[in-house]
Amino acid sequence: MNWVNIILQGVLTGGLYAMFAAGLSLIFGVMRLVNIAHGDLIVLAAYLALVVTTTLGINPLLSIVIVAPLMAAIGYGLQRLLLNRTLGEDLLPPLLVTFGLSVIIQNGLLEVFTADSRKLQAGPIEVDSIQIGGGLAIGTLPLIQFLTAVAVIAALQATFYRTAIGRAFRATSDDRAVAQLMGLDNRHVYALAMALSMAIVGIAGVLLAVRANFDPSIGPARLIFGFEAVIIGGLGSMWGTLAGGIILGVAQAVGAQINPGWQLLAGHIAFLVIVALRPEGLFPKVQG
């Protein structure tokens, strides 16, 4: 029964990782952009949630309403002004520019908020739990977060495959030149994809801020978890990304059970084993 519980907790954590990954998966799928600053943008969103919550005195979970649109606007601007100029055959320019952004965000947050560890208090909901029989209990907050992740991924999948903007995303992903010939403005399409990705980052940032301690330096680790989930799941499949996040979360939970020092190691090794066996991921829909 202990192991069932461990795996259950791993699955719930995996939902959060899938949230880190969903935005990455979207922009990597649409424009082959490796956004090294993605993790730092999640941390930026967490700090925005901190500011919003303390200024307005509202429940941190409610701050999503402000943080997500704000991040989306930042994402649109970032793509139009900066990232669109780096896209092309060469993978170095986007990599370097987002590395630069990562260093800028980390040190900017350090200047403004210091290196102190922060956490947002969501009230009594944090300690609530639901009995599911057999002596097992699920924390209400982790469950809400997992369901949010599933809802976000379902919405993203539906947007991608059932709406006009999703069709534009897929068209530019398949062939940007032809998409442009068909009358799509690639710069605008890319900026919309980044805006959507950053809206998800906003949600993920708030969930992170409520769930765990955060400080300006934790971004890169979130980026790695996110990327591992994307690659494990395979490109172009949002449900694959969720599966990737869950695999990662379960591997970490099992690793931590064996030896506390092996938590992160077990996740990374699971990732490396999967890419060694299936370099294209488990459920690929699009060629990398």
Binding site: L92, P93, S102, G108, L264, H268, G288
Partner: protein
């Protein structure tokens, strides 16, 4: 026309001047203990380390097209190997540096077997994950202090050289020598058949392959050489610091982000790039040192600006404008005057 009817010339007037300037500079720098204080020597040794790291990353990414964001793996492996070899095998620290390089080269072969299954973006991300794995493994080595790290025992430090002054001079000269050896090795490599193959891969991988270049083998050789060099530099950096921890030895910002910034600011895919980039990096750091982490913020902004406005870097601007090269690397076919023109 017979094969002897033409020859290949590398040197240009600018490269002759450039080489002369470099030789003069090396002589002046080698004598730094005579004219510089302790702080100068430390700073210069740090500069040499960054020139070496950036030159190696440039070889890997700029020439072989292997864009790695995980070279901190080999800095860390080199550093940890040095501490382990001196503390547990009783090796002299200077003897441990090349062995640390060999250890990293040995580790890099199976690592490459895994990483080379992935291409482009996936390769880049996986190099970072591999570096994280090594960092977490290092944190498990309890005899080297686990997650909080350890200091090099005083006995080993004293055994290296009796006085602090001689020790500092030794480390300084070794740093200069290591940088020169690495740049020299890269120079020889680029002048050799491998260099031609690498330049071809840099410019067009498919065309290189169809002209008979064994791309996979060339890339593997470069990956292993780079791992070995990076680890030797890492070993030296932490011999100078005298203290090691998983977070500092495997730092992605210190050993990869800044190294990429330096190379891009100077010019990717040119041997001069890392030299120019490191000078810019350290001038910035000295100028903005009073502003704390603000200088890192500036550095990130400048790297972005250079990438967008001058993608070939500062040396790329100069080389395109004036056709200069510091080291004789160009290949030009020269036909003797007497040879009749080709039919």
């Amino acid at each position: 026309m017979s094969a002897a009817a033409f020859r290949i010339e590398h040197a240009t007037p600018s490269s002759r001047i450039g080489t002369a300037i470099l030789i003069a500079l090396v002589i002046i720098l080698a004598l730094a203990p005579l004219w510089g204080g302790r702080d100068d020597l430390r700073l210069l040794a740090e500069i040499y380390s960054y020139v070496a790291l950036a030159s190696l990353w440039n070889l890997l990414a700029g020439y072989a097209g292997l864009v790695s964001v995980g070279q901190q793996a080999y800095v860390g492996i080199g550093a940890y190997a040095l501490f382990a070899l001196t503390m547990f095998a009783g090796l002299h620290p200077l003897a441990a540096i090349p062995i640390a390089g060999a250890v990293a080269a040995a580790i890099s072969v199976p690592t490459a077997a895994l990483l080379f299954r992935l291409r482009g973006h996936y390769f880049a991300i996986a190099t970072w994950v591999v570096a994280e794995v090594f960092r977490l493994l290092a944190a498990q080595i309890s005899v080297l202090g686990g997650g909080s790290g350890t200091s090099l025992p005083t006995a080993i430090v004293i055994a290296m050289a009796p006085s602090r002054e001689i020790r500092e001079y030794t480390i300084y000269w070794v740093a200069l020598l290591l940088m020169m050896a690495i740049i020299g090795a890269i120079f020889i490599l680029l002048r050799s058949r491998y260099g031609l193959a690498l330049t071809a891969i840099r410019d067009n991988e498919l065309a290189a392959r169809s002209n008979g270049v064994d791309v996979a083998r060339t890339k593997l050789v470069i990956y292993v050489i780079t791992a070995c060099g990076t680890a030797m530099v890492g070993a030296l950096i932490f011999l100078q610091k005298l203290r090691i921890s998983p977070d500092t030895a495997f730092s992605v910002n210190d050993w990869t982000a800044f190294v990429i910034f330096i190379t891009v600011i100077g010019g990717v895919g040119r041997i001069e790039g890392p030299l120019i980039g490191t000078v810019v990096f350290f001038i910035l750091r000295q100028q903005l040192a009073d502003y704390g982490s603000f200088y890192l913020l500036m550095l990130g902004a400048i790297a972005i600006a250079v990438m967008l406005m001058a993608p070939k870097g500062l040396w790329g601007l100069i080389a395109d404008r004036f056709g200069w090269q510091l080291l004789p690397l160009e290949r030009r076919v020269v036909r003797p005057e007497a040879t009749p023109p080709l039919e």
